[in-house]
Amino acid sequence: MALLEIKNLHTRIAEDGTEILRGVDLTVNAGEVHAIMGPNGSGKSTLSYVLAGKENYEVTEGEVLFNGENILEMGPDERAMAGMFLAFQYPIEIPGVATITFLKAALNSQRKARGLDELPTPDFMKLVREKAKQMNITSDMLKRPLNVGFSGGEKKRSEILQMALLEPTLCVLDETDSGLDIDALKVVSNGVNALRSPERAMIVITHYQRLLDHIVPDIVHVLSAGKIVKTGGPDLALELEKNGYADYIGEAA
């Protein structure tokens, strides 16, 4: 059974009815890393939000099966409990809530859903310190309010730290490379690569080949005007880097 199966997914913006996804088909197996590339406005971020269950989108057709279960009726928190994680392109600020506080609340909430006890504080601290170190995150940063005043790089590293702590089975990374300099890109990519495993799949959404130099995908898709118009191996990304998306924009329309 595939970990994730998207069948003929159509969605529109709930507020104004604008159609964004126009029949997406995608199958992701455990252990695979898929890259989704495409021009601005092709629906990449929408796809990530619809998978995570953001309310502003309406699914008009199609289905999404996660571990064989239709998740479209599930709330975002239930999907998270089921093992879905979205690394946000623009992580949200939560003033007054220390990053460490947020991490603990999230981890314990998920542990409870899985029938595990809350992690005792000393064990939690040990775990966080270990994972934070890999992401170059200082204990000072863990005390700061979540994402408030974080630099672009800090925000993205914090996202990957959360991913490492929560150990999801499906990681959706929405333009994780945007706003990163080359050093930060390496740290983030190393963090992501450390999480690659036979049980876990990843969907990496990006405009640029440069992220895929570090996180090498198994399969590359081109999303254009709300549809996957081409699927290939890592070479496809290189070809896009050279020729741009011009060929595909026409094809979808």
């Binding site: 975002p76 003033p95 007054g96 603990k104 999230a106």
Partner: protein, 491 residues
């Protein structure tokens, strides 16, 4: 941090609309007949074995009260109160004046405080808790003080901590010197009523140079139906003294509203400091706005000496209607007043609360941080006055009022009044209003938090600065309370 998780557990344990402290104690009580007249006042005064001057003061207040009008300028609305339809005195039969120790207190009463989590048995408190965390408690049930703990230990340090009734008997001159010196008997409608009929409350006296060795706390409980609670608290810190005092309050769940009209007076002499914290959790009424406490309270501190300091911290989650403005008179040069407030309203609660900082002395400073959180159909108003007298050179104030709205049907209002008669005074005011954004909710949910956990987390973040002002144990308690009172505000 663990408080967040605990909070969430607590929220889950409790059904929506279930006010945890809503139980009633079945206890025989000694009541004065309903209604208010001079005979009732004589009755209360006689019950307490008061001296003639106190009775005269009460009667004077009553006569003035008869000529006063109930204030209507606050942004709250409620049916007119029939002051003759209330009981003004109700005491559990076996308690208070004349009791030798806990053994003589009605076991039902002890059980009530146990249920509320208020420790009254000193040896038990001592057994389980580190000495530094000891808190001396004065427990007030309806109209009388039931028991005051750790009195002897405090007396060794020279600190007087007892019920105001006892203080009127044991230390009449001290009480006479300060009572009504901060809130005069004709101050306002409710304060004047209180001056006439106050039944009990706490008295604290910290002598010169003494740092009170433990937190002091009073726990107020209204049990009887149709009974007004009129407590009176007086705290005096002499030169160089320090005291931290906390009050907590609960009441049973009843369909009719109950009146609570307290007066609190604080006096800080030269270099003295008083820290007064309140965790107010009176019954707020049900989801349709039936019942709940009317909390009409006058609290004022007088920074009488130079370099004295008074700090008010309040966490207001209960009451159907709150009318309350803990204030500071900054009389001494270089004195300082602080007001930190979290006011949460849900369902049909109405809050009109804030502070007054009256700068009279030179180089006086004050700081006001108010955080209002409105949910349901509630209305939440901050009303504050900052004034500088002609002689208050270099007075400084900083005011920050932040409001957080949850849902579509609630309201938040900020009404600041500023009066400056001295050109060198500098007053700053900042105000913000925000909502918990859909993006914040989605982000939290995506990490696996439930909606209620997410709201609790964001709100606790919003009020963090204030909660940090509370003594540690109460800070944790407050975080839980905040989450519980916002229960059912999402979805």
């Amino acid at each position: 941090m663990p408080a967040v998780q605990e909070t969430v557990d607590r929220v889950r344990e409790i059904d929506v609309e279930q006010y945890k402290y809503g139980f009633v104690t079945n206890i025989e009580s000694d009541k004065a007949p309903k209604g208010l007249n001079e005979d009732i006042i004589r009755f209360i005064s006689a019950k307490k074995g008061e001296l003639e001057w106190m009775l005269e003061t009460r009667l004077d207040a009553y006569r003035r009260w008869l000529t006063m009008e109930e204030p209507d300028w606050a942004r709250v609305s409620y049916p007119k109160i029939d002051f003759n339809d209330l009981y003004y005195y109700s005491a559990p039969k076996k308690s208070g004046y004349g009791l030798k120790g806990l053994d003589e207190v009605d076991p039902e009463l002890l059980a009530t405080y146990e249920k509320l989590g208020i420790p009254l048995r000193e040896q038990e408190i001592l057994a389980g808790v580190e000495p530094k965390n000891r808190v001396a408690v004065d427990a007030v049930f309806d109209s009388v003080s039931v028991i005051t703990t750790f009195k002897e230990g405090l007396a060794k340090a020279g600190v007087i901590f007892c019920s105001i009734s006892e203080a009127l008997r044991e230390h009449p001159d001290l009480v006479k010197k300060y009572l009504g010196s901060v809130v005069p008997i004709s101050d306002n409608f409710y304060a004047t009523l209180n001056s006439a009929v106050f039944s009990d409350g706490s008295f604290v006296y910290v002598p010169e140079g003494v740092r009170c060795p433990m937190e002091l706390s009073t726990y107020f409980r209204i049990n009887e139906q149709n009974t007004g609670q009129f407590e009176r608290t007086l705290i005096v810190a002499e030169k160089g003294a320090y005291v931290s005092y906390l009050e907590g309050c609960t009441a049973p769940q009843r369909d009719e509203s109950q009146l609570h009209a307290a007066v609190v007076e604080l006096v800080a002499m030269e270099d003295a400091e008083i820290k007064y914290s309140t965790v107010q959790n009176w019954y707020p009424g049900d989801a349709d706005g039936r019942g709940g406490i009317y909390n009409f309270v006058t609290k004022r501190g007088d920074c009488r000496g130079v370099r004295s300091k008074i700090s008010w911290t309040q966490v207001e989650t209960g009451s159907a209607i709150t009318w309350k403005y803990p204030s500071c008179i900054l009389r001494g040069d270089d004195s300082r007043g602080e007001f930190y407030s979290v006011a949460i309203s849900n369902c049909h609660q109405q809050i009109d609360s804030g502070t007054k900082m009256i700068h009279l002395g030179k180089n006086t400073s004050s700081r006001i941080i108010s955080k209002g959180i409105s949910a349901g159909k509630s209305q939440n108003t901050y009303r504050g006055l900052v004034s500088a007298h002609r002689k208050a050179s270099n007075a400084r104030n900083f005011t920050q009022c932040d409001n957080l709205l949850i849902g579509q049907d609630c309201g938040a209002h900020t009404v600041p009044y500023i009066e400056s008669k001295n050109a060198s005074a500098v007053f700053e005011h900042e105000a913000t209003t925000s909502k918990i954004s859909d993006d914040q909710m989605f982000y939290c949910l995506q990490r696996g938090l439930s909606e209620e956990e997410a709201v609790a987390l964001v709100v606790n973040g919003f009020v963090r600065d204030i909660i940090q002002q509370l003594p540690m144990e109460f800070a944790v308690e407050s975080q839980k309370l905040i989450s519980i009172s916002l229960e059912g505000s999402v979805g």
